[in-house]
């Protein structure tokens, strides 16, 4: 259960990183997810170093083939739904990454 107020506070933080580019510094493929991510398993999570500095983690989406996921590949931060929350709760939008 995530408070809608918390989701609201996160928005400006998310907005600040949307569209930022960086490289993959590490990655993994999750086969046993926490319960709010069941529906998208298995999925890739990448650790990204932004060109402007700083690191961030997020799922990697929209790659054509699994062997494209490698340390060193460039990525961009995009807006997607993140957690699968209750049907009657606020939708959690957040950051994920796409290969560029």
């Amino acid at each position: 259960m995530i408070s809608p107020v918390k989701i609201w506070r996160r928005q400006k933080v998310i907005r600040a990183s949307l569209g930022k580019k960086g490289v993959i510094v590490s990655w993994t493929k999750i086969y046993t997810p926490p319960k709010e991510f069941k529906k998208s398993a298995p999925y890739y999570v990448v650790l990204v170093k932004f060109f402007t500095g700083g690191l961030m983690v997020g799922q990697l989406v929209d790659f054509l083939a699994e062997d494209e996921v490698q340390i060193g590949k460039p990525v961009i931060a995009v807006l997607r739904k993140t957690r699968d929350l209750d049907q009657d709760g606020v939708i959690a939008y957040g950051l994920k990454f796409k290969l560029i």
């Binding site: 926490p34 319960k35 998208s40 650790l47 961030m56 983690v57 993140t82 957040g94």
Partner: protein, 380 residues
Amino acid sequence: MVEIIGYHTTRFGEWWEESLFSLINQTYTGILKQTQLDKKQIDAVFFSNMLAGVLENNLHLTAKLAELLGNNIPIFRIESACASGGVAFFLAFNYLKANPNKTVLVIGAEKMTDFSPEQTTTALISAASGEEQEAGLSFPGLYAMLAQVYLQKYQATEEDLAYVAYKNHYHGSLNDKAHFQKKVSLSNILNSAYIAYPLKVFDCAPISDGACALLLTNKKNTYQLPAVRVLASEVATDTISLTKRQRLDEIKATKIAAEKAFRAALLSRKDIQLAEVHDCFTIAEILALEDLGFWPKGQGGKKARELSTLIGRGEFVVNTSGGLKAGGHPVGATGIKQLGEIYLQLTHQAQKRQLKKISYGLAHNVGGSGGTAVVTILGV
């Protein structure tokens, strides 16, 4: 001078018939019986547990313990994710340094199997940052990312990691309190399913129930019990998020705590015969042995393959208890168990896994992905 004068543990594993508090009761009555102490002789209790709040909506555990113990002494609950046990011990140790003529109990306990693996995975990730949770990471996922960096940077392989699991399961087969007591072959390990690439089932510590307790005292010549001296106990912290760490190929908190502990104990690495290190995942043991200063940075893969820390091979053995891997990882109990194992070894009570020569032992307990580290050195 603070000494450990007693240790009791339940077996770690799946305890369907037992609740968190019945497990605590088991180890509490067990240690009193073993040491022949009366509960009136206990001056304070330090209790380590991570998940009772998240999983069972049970907090104020100290009052619950008071109900169990039936007295009105001070009781403290400590939570530092998987380092809860080590930190509880550190605080008990310092309490005794500050309060003369006391005997305290340190209890660690966890009940994890009442819930589905998914619910437990979700509860455990509370020890990671909000961003890491939002990215859908699990603890295997976090350590998997550390493993990827390590494997790439130092040209180590998944197979190197497997040797860690092989060794710890071998040790587990010698420990009647371990969760898993069967030896496992390298091919079993390498063929097991992925949990979070490149970590497989056998690279990950299991979900276990368990409870254990240590008796500590600063009283001199009071008890006729096998005693072990606490030579040092140090805690260090680091950022909760991997994204804020200085380096991704080490756990800095371990390095700092280890430096402080060896300096306080006036010992060097080669003085240690047994280390119980935090192998929540195989990669964690490799990082631990490098960060603690036993192995040179980057050599871990090679050294793991040599199996030099397997019992009977050399003068420095790691995780005779089976580690977290085979011993089991009831989170709040782990840090206590590590110290208990060293206590048993130093007092020659380790039975089938007894080391012939041992004067000093080191316990290494980590919280989360390295946000907390505790290093404790014990000696006879």
